[in-house]
Symmetry: C2
Subunit: 325 residues, 2 copies
């Protein structure tokens, strides 16, 4: 095969979420040249979803790609396994059991398809196109409705023995602590540092402080956005909600640092809109729980990728990465 | 250079501890063909130690090695850094500051010298010669006076950005918990699961249970060996000391599994003499804190290497490993 002209290659990046799926054609510079979306939860069967995705993307692929410049498909999806190309028991998808998704995509599209979970894809995207360019050891934490993670060691995604490495949102930060609404575990990072966890913390704390501004909202309106608004308005209880969240996050990060000694931890997702309300206590409690040899070394930074595009870029990066191995 | 005849190669493995240093000539099958020791703490200066080590080993090296079959020196030492070849601020060595140990060894011996910390060396030894043969993803926990760890991912030691990855003994298992006698951190794994930690737990628990057999020993005689003897004699308090230790260990292991998804965790060191008293609760609490996708997958096994030889074998494995890269 002749040396490829990378500048003419595009990859299809697909980010599958529980409700929506976003896709885009991405070039090797990380520019999304075309994009679109479809509803994930509209399809009871994975095959119907794949058929619909093909209908939507086929015209784009024809428009942009000759046979030799369309390079493959990268997919970020919940519980996707890099080794097996399967989606396994994803709690927020309608497709149950073990779905041989990559093989089904390959059958339909006729090109190779690489998958990993959404947080791993985001980490790759950050390494290729974002704040982690040039880094070989970092951890990406996605703080949204849930808490996900992607771990890069020696310049590669850490997959572990079975493809499931990097479930840091489910590590326990407070043994016997808050029960997780879905897994049932007690005291996981996700139970505190996700948007869902912040809502729970806010409801508990406002009950303790009747004067808190948070009490002017009805129960169902309490979420991390409302907590942010109250914190910006100076409400001490709302500020304490974020401080506590940051503490739990920082304690967890210290343990992660002592595991893989990354040069940076990247934070991504809706929760980071709280900015310094969370970042400062997270940094403080990370540093104080570290052995001295690790202190004042690890950068704690926000993602540079646009949130709407990061997952697509990350998914497409799976394709580019395969050229580097 | 002609292809080496590995069967005729030997490497010098050196295990530097705070009190004693052990060394051995090791062949590629992991057989120690000669060994010896010297006192580490007798030497106020690292150079004097290196000179003495050279005096002791030079006759062996002459006896076993022609120029082309002596392959190099591997060293396991506390706080040794693989990247820089330095020993940095090791609390239990007399050589303070940052000692350029590998360069000094190279100068004296005239061969290449590779170093890493003792737990990393043990993990390598286990992968090449012990219970982890054939594994590409596992974690080695050394449970002795302290708690160390070596992490293998993708068939290689995890060093991280600065060479210090894998300080799992210092991860926090109980935020705000027991203060560490040396680091000052609160609730680290080492504070509970080391021999020192077990002694502390035993002293606390025997005070709560006046009828415990542990109360028939004077304060200074309480150690993990005595706890084991009492547990074997059926003392419920002594059994509870190990159960609690195993629980803390198991909780920590669950978090490690969700980080790197290893196929096994190997346990090594004096503490594992407690056998099932610790192993069973460790397994139980590891499993119950894991996400379902990780359950009943990770083997929890004891090391197969002889404790007296493991550190030498591991150190020598640093030399053999360099041929595989």
């Amino acid at each position: 095969m002749a040396l490829m002209d990378l500048s003419r290659q595009v990859a299809l990046g697909v980010d599958i979420g529980g409700t929506n799926t976003k896709y885009g054609l991405v070039n090797h510079r990380g520019e999304i040249v075309e994009k679109g979306s479809l509803k994930t939860d509209q399809f009871a069967e994975a095959q119907d979803f794949i058929d619909a995705l093909h209908d939507k993307t086929a015209p784009l692929l024809r428009k942009y790609c000759e046979q030799d410049t369309f390079d493959g498909i990268g997919i970020g999806a919940p519980n996707a396994n890099y080794y097996s190309g399967t989606i396994e028991q994803a709690p927020n998808l309608r497709w149950k059991g073990v779905v041989p998704f990559a093989a089904m995509m390959n059958e339909k599209f006729g090109v190779s398809c690489t998958m990993t979970n959404d947080a791993n894809a985001a980490a790759l995207g950050e390494m290729m196109f974002g704040a982690a360019r040039g880094m070989k050891n970092f951890i990406m934490m996605t703080l949204g409705t849930g808490v996900g993670s992607g771990i890069i060691t020696n310049g590669q995604l850490l997959y572990g023995s079975d493809g499931f490495a990097g479930e840091l949102g489910h590590t326990i930060v407070k043994p016997g602590g808050r029960k997780h609404w879905s897994t049932g575990s007690e005291g996981s990072l996700e139970a505190y540092a996700s948007a869902t966890g912040i809502g729970i913390t806010a409801k508990k704390m406002r009950a303790e402080f009747p004067n808190s501004m948070l009490n002017s909202y009805s129960e169902e309106r309490i979420n991390s956005k409302v907590v942010f608004d109250c914190a910006m308005a100076g409400d001490p209880t709302a500020i304490e909600v974020f401080r506590y969240t940051g503490q739990k996050l920082g304690e967890a990060l210290a343990n992660f640092v002592m595991f893989s000694s990354p040069e940076a931890i990247l934070l991504f997702g809706g929760v980071i809109k709280a900015g310094d309300f969370i970042l400062k206590p997270a940094k403080l409690h990370m540093e104080r729980n570290l052995l001295p040899i690790f202190r004042n070394k690890v950068k704690l930074v926000f993602s540079e990728l646009d949130e709407a595009d990061a997952a697509i870029l990350g998914a497409s990066a799976l394709v580019w990465e395969s050229h580097l191995l």
